[in-house]
């Protein structure tokens, strides 16, 4: 997954903010550590950011910082904390999750529009749907992933974690692991997909807003 990056210098110029503000927001955990990507360039080390995510984030910070203190902002911006919910119709209209996934993994009440999807449910659906539409997992396996996420994701209590999908000798399995983690498997294991849940949540949020 190659994504567009923006250098720190360009970011500051584009958004009209200063180094001090950026460092302050980082200190207050308004900008996650993982977004600071270090690369060496001809002028030495430079820091880059995932462009779409950082621009959206700074926009939000600038809009909200008038009314909220930085600490209150940090709670608001935590990737998994949100009270957004969406109905099935909206989901399909805004093309967030494919209809196949929706039909397969929703409760009857959600399907006929009586019940909305909570953010957590949306997150699981979105993650599953992404792997499914990339052709990494089969429809059957997607059910297994939904189950894994439902059972174990809440235990991380909003701490960063990642989903791993592995195959060995035709047997597939899912795992959730705290991120960042170094995992090593025997040679027969193939890691088919690896998803950072915080990143998925971020993508989903930017689609919802």
């Amino acid at each position: 997954m190659e994504r567009e990056l923006i250098s720190k210098k360009d970011l500051l110029e584009l958004m009209g903010i200063s180094y001090g503000q950026l460092y302050r927001w980082k200190r207050k955990q308004l900008i996650p550590e993982e977004w600071f990507i270090r690369k060496s360039t001809f002028t030495g080390q430079e820091t880059f950011f995932p462009k779409d995510m950082i621009l959206a984030r700074i926009d939000r910070i600038m809009n909200m910082k008038e009314d909220l203190s930085l600490d209150e902002l940090a709670d608001k911006l935590s990737p998994f904390q949100t009270d957004l919910s969406l109905s099935k119709r909206e989901l399909i209209e805004r093309n967030i999750v494919s209809e196949v996934s929706i039909n397969r993994h929703s409760s009857p009440a959600q399907l006929n529009g009586e019940e909305a999807y909570s953010f957590a449910q949306l997150l699981f659906l979105y993650a599953t749907d992404q792997l499914l539409s990339d052709g990494e997992i089969s429809l059957e396996e997607s059910g297994l992933l939904m189950e894994t996420l439902r059972d174990h994701f809440p235990r991380y209590e909003g701490k960063p974690c990642e989903v791993l999908f592995m195959r060995k000798m035709g047997v597939s399995m899912f795992a959730l692991a705290a991120a960042p983690s170094a995992l090593h498997f025997d040679a027969g294991v193939k890691i088919v997909a690896r998803l950072q849940m915080a990143e998925i949540a971020e993508q989903l949020r930017s689609k919802l807003n």
């Binding site: 210098k9 200063s18 180094y19 460092y23 980082k26």
Partner: protein
């Protein structure tokens, strides 16, 4: 840690204490804390070692403190030598002595005099430090960064001749901030809004937005004015 407050811990002399959650902690002498410790006030005098994480609203150190984990402290008054393997985060640090942090050090204000060594990023809203020894960090970032040489006594120059690490100099790869004032600094890249490069500086590259002031004795490789 969501434990209930169990009272105070007071220790004098030589000994080892279990960690845990306390209201007030007073350690005097040669003390070791075996696990994570959390308290409202930690007053440490002497030679203290913590095998784990230290969390305190107020930390008052006179002596040496070694922490094998990280520190989270609201305000800290450090008179002596503090060594942290992990990361340091807090609001205010008043330093009179030496601060060593293995990873990042993130505080709102750090001021005082002495020496420091930060393995990662020193990120602070306001940095106001006078160096009595060497200041080293991989990166420094913040709003206002003022780091310069402290006063020099007769003993200082004798020490410096014997031990190079007593040299009053700042060595950093990258400094970024709004207002930056440095002297006796060796830095690869300095980026800021208003930058003052003082006496005895060796800077490979300076990028500034509003103004750059430089001392005649400062050596600057390249300088560039950025717009915005």
């Amino acid at each position: 840690m969501a434990g209930e407050i169990i009272g105070d811990l007071k220790m004098d002399g030589i000994g080892t204490a279990a960690g845990g959650v306390y209201k007030n902690v007073a350690l005097n002498g040669v003390c070791k804390v075996a696990t994570d410790i959390e308290a409202q006030l930690i007053d440490a005098d002497g030679r203290i070692r913590v095998e784990g994480h230290l969390t305190a609203n107020d930390l008052d150190l006179d002596g040496t403190l070694d922490v094998s984990g990280g520190i989270r402290a609201g305000t800290a008054a450090i008179d002596g030598v503090i060594t942290v393997k992990g990361a340091y985060s807090g609001q205010r640090v008043r330093l009179n002595g030496m601060l060593t942090v293995g990873e990042d050090c993130e505080v709102d204000v750090i001021e005082g005099e002495g020496a420091f060594k930060i393995g990662g990023l020193l990120n602070a809203g306001r940095i106001d430090l006078k160096l009595q020894g060497r200041g080293a960090a991989k990166e420094i970032g913040g709003e206002s960064i003022r780091i310069g040489k402290g006063r020099t006594g007769a003993w200082q120059s004798i020490w410096q001749r014997m031990l190079p690490s007593f040299a009053q100099e700042l060595i950093v790869d990258l400094i970024e901030g709004d207002v930056i004032e440095l002297d006796h600094a060796t830095v690869k890249v300095v980026r800021g809004d208003r930058v003052a490069i003082g006496e005895g500086c060796v800077i490979d590259r300076v990028e500034y937005r509003t103004e750059l002031r430089k001392h005649p004795s400062a050596r600057i490789g390249e300088e560039a004015k950025t717009n915005g």
